[in-house]
Symmetry: C2
Subunit: 193 residues, 2 copies
């Protein structure tokens, strides 16, 4: 194992540990010392990777945000409106299901919400583009509210404690059904292979 | 003005002030002293009404919770399934719209979420009954997830900062349309008088 691999590995484990500590104590109630202790390293080892808790919080959310951006890019590149909506909805639901602990944290913690807002600074673009692939480039107020209800509802239900025991495939299927109904999309004819 | 009226009035203003301070600083970041200072009274005057911040937090949420319970009772008393769903949905949306600042706080603050859980302790009944009026007494997993998506989505969109400038009537109308679509209900033929 090279030193590079070890460093990268420590960084990944550090972010996983930070997410666990944030979930237990909230972003506000978590210190760098608590993350270091849980990980079994010194505070200096944490500082090697991140200077502040803000940096850690942003890094915890970064992979999911990057995936979300890719989903929007790919959706926008689809040729029909139907395919755009389908791609955006499938991608968003998949993200929510795979990142449940992060989504659960986002649903209840202003600290992670602020970190995500900082990361998206200047990316008002981001929300506008998601809106655009779901309801078109000139959304009415009704369209905008529908998008808020569907994205918010899917994230809350997907990250919800009451659904934590449901396996990924089942949760994905039910969230997709709710999302399609809300966006007025036809039900899928058959599940993907 | 009698002393009784003044006391009641102080209690109401205290709860309104507490909600404002909670919104600004979070429940966790708000002290009894901050509430007293904002209200222009002494800390002793606050203690006259409430012994702890937990008591204040629960009292801030209590009126909306009581109204929600009434909505569920009235919905359950309707004679047809359609009327039950309609009553529960109209009542829930109306609650969300009228209590937007509280709903917004609930959407992002674990402190108020915990206070509401404490208030509902032993009232698992509460969620079960709302589920029952919306999707019947034996909900499938799909039904349960639909209810989470619709109630969560309506609360998030209704309390959302991006919709804060929308007037009550317009917001109510669009949230109802989204809720009906998600629950597979027909659109209303005409607005209520």
């Amino acid at each position: 194992m090279t030193a590079g691999t070890t460093t990268e590995d420590t960084r990944s484990r550090l972010l996983a540990t930070a997410l666990r500590q944030f979930t237990l104590h909230g972003v506000e109630g978590t210190s760098l010392q608590m993350i270091a202790a849980d990980l079994g390293v010194t505070k200096a080892a944490v500082y090697y990777h991140f200077k502040t808790k803000d940096e850690i919080t942003e890094a915890v959310a970064a992979p999911a945000l990057a995936e979300f951006e890719t989903v929007i890019d790919e959706a926008a590149a689809q040729r029909t409106r139907g395919a755009q909506i389908e791609h955006a909805l499938v991608g968003f639901v998949d993200l929510v299901v795979r990142h449940r602990p992060l989504v659960a944290l986002f649903n209840s913690d202003p600290g992670i919400q602020r970190a995500i807002e900082r990361s998206l600074k200047g990316a008002e673009n981001f929300k506008t583009r998601m809106m655009s692939v779901l309801v078109g480039p000139d959304p009415t107020l009704a369209d905008q509210i529908t998008v808020h209800v569907v994205l918010g509802g899917l994230a809350l239900a997907g990250g919800g404690e009451e659904n934590a025991e449901i396996d990924d495939e089942t949760l994905r299927e039910h969230l997709m059904a709710a999302g399609r109904r809300l966006l007025g999309r036809p039900r899928r004819r058959s599940p993907r292979p």
